[in-house]
């Protein structure tokens, strides 16, 4: 139970609990943002676990989640476009906070990993994670304006 897994536990308890509560209750706009935040939080947790368990092969899971998490949110943004026009999702602060948190976790892990292929892999995962999070929240806020049948 080293420091990494302890941090992962804390993030999972707080962040995970908040996102599950956010996605299960409240208006549709907030639920969709909670879904986006859940993947953007789970990716750093997986990175922390990969470091905590000392298994670099777990970074592949975080990489796939960084790639497919935002795709899932894009699916909801596109197919719920008509319903989301009623109440555009806000929660900008939460999205940026999670994006900053993800970036710091990646930077810390890069510092620990030291220069090399592992560090570049972490940077790629971090870049995909933050870009995906922001683009997905941008899509939620009205990226698919004209898609009646699209």
């Amino acid at each position: 139970m080293n420091g990494w897994t302890a941090t992962a536990t804390a993030v999972l308890a707080l962040g995970g609990g908040a996102t599950v509560w956010g996605v299960a209750t409240g208006p549709l706009g907030r639920r969709v943002v909670a879904q986006n935040l859940s993947t953007s939080l789970a990716c750093p947790v997986l990175l922390l676990l990969a470091q905590g368990y000392g298994r670099p092969s777990y970074v592949d899971l975080a990489l796939v989640l960084a790639l497919l998490g935002p795709v899932g949110t894009l699916v909801f943004a596109r197919l719920l476009a008509e319903d989301l026009e009623g109440d555009p999702p806000g929660a900008r602060a939460a999205t940026y906070a999670v994006a900053v948190f993800g970036a710091t976790v990646v930077i810390v892990l890069c510092a620990v990993a030291g220069p090399g292929r592992a560090m570049v892999k972490l940077l790629v995962t971090g870049a995909l994670l933050v870009a995906g999070n922001l683009v997905a929240s941008r899509a939620l806020a009205g990226g698919f304006s004209g898609s009646r049948h699209g």
Binding site: S57, V64, V71, A131, V135, R138, G143, F144, G150
Partner: protein, 246 residues
């Protein structure tokens, strides 16, 4: 059978099941204990055949016949979907309108599509070395293709994805898996036996005898099957409409 009676029957059945489960739990080995009889044998067998990822060794070497069953299940379910979601006589196919997608989303989709496709192929190729395998990589690669539908619209996706090719690819990959199995028979050992190819050196791409081949066959089969599956769902949701224009 009023609702109240039905609820009582459910409660009684549930209580019985709960009692049996609780009775069975103490007999289980302790959670996270050190004795793993199956695990030790499987790891020993997988290391004997130079396969680094034990799960891939179980999937494609020791229990390759079960994976043949899973492959058949996926193949049959996709055929079922294709038959059920076909365009019937009283339906017509309307061309999908181009959707207005904001620039950052479209640019993101066009950049992430090849990266996700490459990651999918990486997960398939390194199935027997790191966590992953044909199934996971195939789904990632297939989902990557559909970023085009999310980043632009269905017309763009249809131009890029000739559905006939994927149906043929699905069938080819499934038969590829079978042919690799029969090669074992022809080689004088059992069906799907991993005795033909050399096991190679540990933790390299060519290690594990026929495991990488079966992995690649499953990867291609799953990717093509998921593309065909999603194509039918997208056709129904976006294109096919009742004559009355619903």
């Amino acid at each position: 059978m009023t609702r109240r009676v039905r609820r009582w029957v459910l409660a009684v059945g549930g209580a019985g099941l709960a009692a049996l489960l609780v009775a069975a739990c103490p007999a289980l080995p302790p959670f996270g204990g050190a004795t793993h009889p199956y695990g030790d044998r499987v790891v020993h067998e997988s290391l004997a055949r130079q396969t680094a990822n034990t799960i891939a060794s179980v999937n494609f070497d020791q229990r390759a016949f079960d994976t043949l069953g899973e492959l058949g299940i996926l193949f049959a379910s996709v055929i079922g979907t294709v038959v059920l979601l076909r365009q019937t006589r009283d339906e017509r196919r309307a061309a999908p309108e181009p959707a207005a997608v904001s620039l950052p989303v479209r640019r993101y989709a066009l950049i992430v599509l090849p990266v996700a496709l490459l990651t999918g192929l990486y997960v398939v190729a390194h199935g027997q070395l790191s966590p992953g395998g044909g199934f996971q990589g195939g789904v990632v690669a297939a989902t990557a293709l559909h970023l085009l539908y999310l980043g632009a619209d269905y017309r763009a996706l249809e131009n890029v994805r000739p559905i006939g090719l994927y149906e043929v690819g699905d069938a080819l990959a499934a038969s590829g898996y079978l042919v690799t199995g029969f090669a074992g028979l022809l080689g004088g050992t059992a069906f799907l036996a991993n005795t033909l190819l050399p096991y190679g050196t540990f933790n390299t791409l060519a290690s594990g005898g026929t495991v990488p081949l079966l992995n690649a066959a499953i990867g291609m089969e799953v990717a093509c099957a998921v593309v065909v599956l999603l194509a039918r769902f997208l056709d129904q949701a976006v294109e096919i409409e009742k004559e009355s224009g619903s």
